[in-house]
């Protein structure tokens, strides 16, 4: 190492975090600015000997790494923009209208029940209380997301919540967004029309080509892939019809979306999974690693993998996607888009899992079928493993101020504030990263974890390493800049007003 901590020039060295990446040092600061310095310049910077005429010095000064050149107004403005989402209150409201599910996914996190167990359906009275509670929260942006189980197994309640929320919003006048996360197998024309008519964004799970999808997400006695893609095609066709005829006018329609969960069975097929998404006309893919919650946690030895195995898969997939982009087609990988939007823009996409503190309770709330309120959907899932500590109350008995004031919610904030955690506070990726206390709890039995041993930390750190190495490549950086812009645009579109 070519620096001496005893020779720090305190008059010029502003605050920075750093990490050595290859032969260079990567520096970041609290506003999320970054710079690379070679070993020689890093030493000079520490000792205040870097020439003020050099390009490196000018870059460091512009990005507020030089203490006596800090532009406080700009620094404060950027820091503020990066954290503005922390103050509005929860905007994402996950409503579990039933625990029943007709699929038997190998990695199910949601503690699903059998199709006949109708005692796990949300009642009309509870649904009304849930919507009333959601509208009592302070954020002007409200996204109601139906999850399950399979939400379409309790179709009357989904329909009621959509209609009641829209009716209520005529008075409340919030920016309301409605979303359905479904396996689509119970979709029909009437339901599809209803969702499009009411501007409900549709999202499904598509784990890749037929063989991988069916292995991860079996549907007893049926072909799970065919059941899902049949309605995915219809939804995509309808979306394109709207796009072609410019029916959308001043209102925004969401392209139907899909999510990939990468199981051990997916690891050998990065290209095939990407190709599957291209085949269905998606312009984005979200390659999420398996989470150790629910069934996946119990069967980790069978379907889980080491972080490096996932990272090898992710790199192959990302390289392939970048090649596709270099050939002129726009196609995004969501994890990379979120990360680069945090690195390259002054905004924040408000992705709740990469936030500090995380979104639990202050960015999202999850409502179980019986009206119980949890910090987030992961917290609800832990409830089904006998860990009720993430339950904040119930819509029947509690008001918003009691929920937001609960000790469990405060603990989640403390446990996910990265600037307070050992291993995170000095990490070069602190300005961009986030902790999931529930993930920690599932892994170690403690909401505070030892970062060097955390699967999530290892994966996040390696993805940041990869993205920063790509930002040094001009061609790749150009593509990633477009992704960053698109990610921020989409995060702002999320809450466009939908028609009454």
């Amino acid at each position: 190492m070519k620096f001496n901590p005893d020779k720090i020039d305190h008059s010029t060295v502003g605050f920075f975090r750093y990490r050595k990446l290859g032969k260079e040092y990567l520096l970041t600061n609290d506003a999320g600015e970054y710079a690379f310095l070679d070993e020689n310049n890093f030493g000079k910077f520490i000792e205040g000997k870097i020439s003020s005429k050099s390009a490196s010095y000018k870059e460091l000064a512009k990005k507020n790494f030089i203490r006596d050149k800090i532009n406080f107004d700009k620094y404060i403005e950027k820091y503020q923009k990066k954290h503005q989402n922390l103050f509005g209150g929860p905007s994402l409201h996950i409503v579990v209208v039933t625990l029943r599910c007709n699929y038997s996914c190998v990695y199910c996190q949601a503690s699903a029940k059998g199709v006949t167990s109708s005692q796990f359906d949300m009642s009309l009275g509870t649904a009304k209380q849930v919507v009333d509670f959601i509208f009592s929260t302070p954020n002007n942006n409200v996204a109601i997301e139906f999850q399950g189980g399979e939400p379409l197994l309790n179709w009357p309640i989904v329909k009621f919540i959509v209609e009641y929320a829209k009716e209520k919003n005529k008075i409340e006048k919030k920016s309301l967004e409605l979303r359905l996360v479904s396996n689509f197998s119970l979709m029909d024309k009437e339901k599809l029309r209803f969702f499009f008519r009411n501007h409900v964004a549709l999202c499904t799970s598509l784990d890749g080509p037929e063989a991988i999808h069916n292995r991860n997400r079996p549907l007893p006695r049926k072909n799970s892939y065919e059941e899902t893609t049949k309605w995915l095609k219809q939804a995509m066709d309808e979306y394109r019809r709207i796009e072609r005829k410019k029916i959308r006018g001043k209102y925004y329609f969401f392209q139907p979306g899909a999510l990939v969960t990468v199981s051990r069975f997916s690891l050998e097929h990065p290209k095939e999974i990407v190709d599957e998404y291209l085949k269905w006309g998606f312009d984005t893919i979200f390659l999420r690693p398996l989470s150790p919650l629910g069934t996946a946690g119990k069967a980790w030895s069978k379907m889980g993998y080491k972080p490096q195995e996932y990272l090898d898969f992710y790199k192959k997939a990302l390289d392939y996607i970048l090649e596709i982009n270099q050939s002129g087609k726009r196609f995004y990988e969501r994890t990379a888009s979120i990360v680069v939007s945090k690195i390259l823009t002054d905004d924040d996409p408000n992705y709740l899992e990469l936030r500090s503190p995380c979104g639990a309770g202050i960015g999202q709330l999850a409502y179980d079928f019986n009206g119980d309120i949890y910090t987030c959907d992961e917290g609800r899932m832990m409830g089904y493993s006998g860990q009720e500590m993430f339950r904040l109350g119930t819509v029947a008995q509690n008001v918003y101020s009691e929920i937001i004031d609960s000790p469990a919610l405060k603990s989640m904030c403390v446990a996910s504030e990265t600037s307070c955690q050992a291993g995170c506070s000095h990490c070069v990726y602190q300005p961009y990263c986030g902790i999931c206390p529930i993930h920690n709890f599932a892994e170690t039995g403690n909401v505070f974890c030892q970062q060097p041993n955390s699967l999530r930390c290892i994966i996040n750190k390696s993805i940041f390493d990869l993205i920063f190495s790509y930002l040094k490549d001009k061609k790749k950086k150009k593509i990633l800049e477009k992704w960053a812009k698109k990610e921020i645009e989409c995060s702002k579109k999320n809450y466009q007003k939908i028609p009454d």
């Binding site: 305190h10 820091y79 503020q80 103050f87």
Partner: protein
């Protein structure tokens, strides 16, 4: 700073060395040790004012060369943390100012209004309902007298 002498115990899969606390503050040692917890069991002993004894025991079997390399990595990490801690310490006030200024101005107007209202409401403190301003002796003498009366 000199390379500290170390003692390797192959059988125990362990390397032990001492660091002068004047050169290496405990905070830097703790932070550096934390980086290694995925690979080694760390044991710290000694006097934080004088000298810290560091013992690194591999979770997987390590040979002599690997144990020596482990110490080298530890010392490099220690150097990193000396720098990080110094930089953080010397910029603490600036950072606190930036965070405070950003957060206060990004609070929604209704929160600001609410907090100023709750400040107004705290005028009640003059009434001292919790008797915070009452001296301890006075408060407890009063309680003791009440207890005595009850017993009678």
């Amino acid at each position: 700073m000199q390379n500290p002498k170390s003692k390797i115990n192959i059988k125990e899969n362990q390397i032990v060395f001492r660091l002068n606390s004047k050169n290496y503050p405990l905070e830097a040692i703790l932070n550096a040790a934390y980086v290694f917890i995925d690979r080694v069991y760390v044991h710290l002993d000694g006097d934080p004012e004088k000298e810290i004894l560091i013992s690194l025991k591999g979770k997987e079997r390590l040979d002599k060369k690997q144990l020596e390399a482990l110490k080298g990595e530890f010392l490099n990490e220690l150097l990193n943390y000396l720098l990080r801690i110094e930089v953080a310490k010397n910029n603490q006030k600036i950072r606190e100012y930036i965070v405070a200024a950003s957060l206060v101005s990004s609070l929604p107007s209704n929160v600001i209004a609410q907090s100023s209202r709750s400040e107004e409401e705290t005028v009640d403190w003059r009434e001292d309902p919790l008797e915070i301003a009452v001296p301890w002796e006075e408060k407890h003498a009063k309680k003791a007298k009440e207890k005595q009366k009850k017993n009678k």
